[in-house]
């Protein structure tokens, strides 16, 4: 707060000042030290100043409620939350990352709606905010699938999509990607919901082995190709459907990392107290 410490509001600060008979400068310095100590305790270098565009993913809110024993609270309609028992049991810190949209290939963005091309879409997640002392145990890429209206009219074969998630190892001339498969799943487009893909090997390579992070690539294949369904089931890009901005911010791909900073116990699911 400029020259003043921000921890204690002005009113409280004046009261403390009066009680202690200290000079304002001494008081502010003490409060600044106090705030810095508290922030260090929380593992922060400075006081966070969230921007207006910051979005808190519903998945982390649900995870928090499960953690604090408030999971009984009803979520949004249609929400299906599955507690990541295995990942959370080895971690005390969960971080959420959205991809850097500025790095998206414009061409790739267009195919999702129009061309029906099978080229994978590339997503780059900046994980540099993970502190060096935090050891990742796992990471998942979460993708939202939206039910295609009238899906019930299609045969089981026509409803099938395969989602492949790759780590990008190299980008060669012409934008072609050299990749390795991390996870794959066969889904049907008659339901909406989140799919979680294990991308731990890539996240560990980027953070532990300091291998350059070239991102992940996602490929959605409609097994019984029809122009009407191709590229319309999995929410990969902003332009895929004309929905409000808030909708995209909550439904866009999300990378979630599970790590431990060596302090304290892992996350455990609590019952309501």
């Amino acid at each position: 707060e400029g020259t003043h410490a921000s921890l204690v509001p002005e009113l409280g600060r004046r009261r403390v000042l009066g009680l202690q008979g200290r000079l304002p400068e001494q008081n502010d310095a003490a409060l600044r030290d106090f705030e810095a100590t508290l922030l260090r305790m929380f593992g922060l270098q400075c006081r966070p100043r969230p921007s207006r565009s910051a979005v808190v993913p519903q998945y982390l809110v649900d995870l928090y409620h499960a953690q604090s024993g408030e999971a009984e609270q009803p979520g949004p309609p249609g929400a299906t939350f599955q507690y990541p028992e295995r990942s959370a049991s080895r971690a005390n810190t969960v971080r959420a990352f959205h991809h850097q949209e500025s790095l998206e290939q414009v061409v790739a963005d267009e195919w999702a709606d129009v061309s029906g091309d099978d080229s994978p879409l590339r997503f780059v997640f900046n994980l540099s905010s993970i502190p060096p002392g935090e050891l990742l145990s796992s990471a998942e890429l979460r993708l939202y699938r939206q039910r295609i209206p009238g899906a019930e009219l299609h045969s089981a074969d026509q409803r099938r999509h395969r989602i492949n998630v790759y780590e990008v190892l190299k980008v060669v001339r012409g934008g072609q990607l050299i990749t390795r498969l991390l996870d794959t799943r066969l889904v049907q487009h008659d339901t909406s919901g989140w799919e979680s893909f294990d991308v731990s090997p890539a996240a560990l390579r980027w953070t532990h082995e300091h291998v350059p992070n070239l991102g992940l690539a996602v490929e959605v294949l409609h097994l019984n190709r029809t122009a009407a369904q191709q590229g319309r089931h999995v929410r990969l890009s902003r332009s895929l459907h004309t929905t409000p901005e808030e909708d995209w911010s909550q439904l866009r791909p999300l990378l979630v990392t599970y790590g431990h900073d060596g302090k304290g116990h892992p996350l455990t699911r609590r019952s309501k107290r």
Binding site: L7, P9, V56, L60, V61, S68, T93, R95, G264, H265
Partner: protein, 113 residues
């Protein structure tokens, strides 16, 4: 006539309520949840002889015993003997959302140590 007997205040070491409200210090802009939490604190006397419920150590019993005959040796201190963790959901310095478990944030039990 006998004086009306008020409820005798228990001054022995025990846990007291203490609610930490993040909005009071203006931290609710980056801490998404919880809005605050019950931290509690320990306060009270550690009298001679130490009762079982005061969770004392052998050392605290000896120190209290010595204090009863030599007041220059202080009494045992009323301190947290059991603490628990809380989870916090917040936005960090990079605008990233973090859910973290912080150990030893809540006093669960107090004792004389």
């Amino acid at each position: 006539s006998a004086k009306p007997r008020g409820r005798k205040k228990n001054r022995h070491c025990r846990r007291h309520p203490l609610y930490v409200d993040f909005s009071d210090v203006g931290w609710n802009d980056w801490i998404v949840a919880p809005p605050g939490y019950h931290a509690f604190y320990c306060q009270g006397e550690c009298p001679f002889p130490l009762a079982d419920h005061l969770n004392s150590t052998n050392h605290a019993i000896v120190q209290t015993l010595v204090n009863s005959v030599n007041s220059s040796v202080p009494k045992a201190c009323c301190v947290p003997t059991e603490l628990s963790a809380i989870s916090m959901l917040y936005l960090d310095e990079h605008d990233k959302v973090v859910l973290k478990n912080y150990q030893e944030m809540v006093v669960e039990g107090c004792g004389c140590r």
